[in-house]
Symmetry: C2
Subunit: 334 residues, 2 copies
Amino acid sequence: MILALDAMGGDHAPVETCKGAINACARHSDLEIILVGDQDLVRKEIEAASSDIRSRLHIYHAQETIGMEEMPAVAIRKKRHSSLRLAMQMVHSGDAQGCVSAGNTGAIVAGGVLVVGRISGIDRPALGVALPTPNRVTFLLDVGATVRCKPVNLYQFALMGDFYSRHILGVSNPEISLLSNGAEEIKGDEVVAAARTMIRNSNVNYRGFIEGDDIPYGKTDVVVCDGFTGNVVLKLAEGLGQAIYSMVREEIGHRFLPKVGVMFLIPMLKDLRKRLDYEKHGGTPLLGVNGAVIKAHGRSKAPAVTSALCVARDFVRQRGVELIKGELEQGGGV
Amino acid sequence: MILALDAMGGDHAPVETCKGAINACARHSDLEIILVGDQDLVRKEIEAASSDIRSRLHIYHAQETIGMEEMPAVAIRKKRHSSLRLAMQMVHSGDAQGCVSAGNTGAIVAGGVLVVGRISGIDRPALGVALPTPNRVTFLLDVGATVRCKPVNLYQFALMGDFYSRHILGVSNPEISLLSNGAEEIKGDEVVAAARTMIRNSNVNYRGFIEGDDIPYGKTDVVVCDGFTGNVVLKLAEGLGQAIYSMVREEIGHRFLPKVGVMFLIPMLKDLRKRLDYEKHGGTPLLGVNGAVIKAHGRSKAPAVTSALCVARDFVRQRGVELIKGELEQGGGV
């Protein structure tokens, strides 16, 4: 399998992206990776790889990069030789079966739509994240691709979330919920209320409105919301994990626990923090585009890049895009 | 000072509301409370109070109550003899200097607007909550009064948040931030972007967009957002506190920590959980209405009702409504 990697995307590119590619090839012998970026910089980073791995790493030169602060749609349109755009073109042309970038989120979304293209029947794409909760994995979408949504967007997110939970996360009959400001029918705004009607009339297992506190309790398999709200939810969850870590340390300080107790606690807290640091680990599929496009966190270091490449590999192997198309055909009855 | 209490509002009314009123009178000798509700039920609950306290508790009969599932505006309009509406009328008429309810949030907001009335210059009210963070108290508004906002609503929330942080929370030059899906200028939707321009041109100390993970780190004094997003944020924070409690216990289990270590940990975790269980403690002022209206959590037991009554007392003593009016007059320059 051939994947394209935007070697220049992210805060720690190209050093960590290249390292991540090397590790992904070491993990999966069927993997070839096209590193799209400044050829001199990339070559230097992969020089030390073993000959087996080196033979599966290909360099494709890109003269330009898209920065984190650039206007996404403008950058994708104008920077025709950027590493991100070229990586996406490979997915569009079939030269690569999927691509990964830790770059500008908006540009990844814009490139997904403008370069890779949308799946017919999907108006706007969604980024989804699998959140660990005490009793199950909850798939939250959208976390930032489509900032504000029409009802039909939320409806399509519900179909794609159903698909992802079922086929990728292996949940047999996933429960789909809409995030709202209260569980009662009278809550929500007009968009959420209209989306509810559409989802209810579809084939998915719709369970009603869900509130913010239901998410960490793992009360549902799929949480559907617009990209603004989902982004706030995801980041708040990450931030609270970190803040609680500080607070626990502070509480420990207050209590003069014996030092040995603190030594027991710290590794546990670190594990917990990791469990809550959702986005840094793994990749986030951009659902609704006609190809496997995986976003990695902007702060990704090598392990997160490797993990995103593995997510892309799984998504391609499981024929993610074809499954979404099939789901849409049987789908809704809107 | 005379406060009106909706004795029938909330999941544990009238038992816990009456108990909360008794405790508030015990705490503050200047306090008289009008218990608005079913006179027979209320009388029974306050019978056992000492004669000093009993002399400061007045019963005002209400034939009707508004349930948690009722359509707010309809209920407030039709149920003219409901305990909530009567309590609010006392604020409007001046018979009470403020009121507290743990009832239907939407009905409290609708009653605030329709019965108590808005402050001139405020289009929509906001519910604010003071969140503890490791290094400061962050005031978040709106958490559910105005579900979707126009830019001018967010702008007015910024002014009211500035006032609350300054005069009630005692922050000398509060930093005001707008919640968005990214810190960069290009993020946000049209509403947030337009609100930013208005807030920037006002006298408040505007600090820019803030992301979800910045809230628990305590990066700002006031976070402004619409009631949909704020409600999700508040509930998620509460829910995560609980979920992390479960996860920590689980992690402890994995690690076979000596039992004595666990015994040290549990009280600490309980304290932490309390610190994160924001809404249950204290009351939430409905800002922008022409009187002191304090919402308590629907699940409030006596201590939370007492605390909400104390918040109402403080708000009246600090002349909260007059201060907002003054702030608006000097205010914006929109």
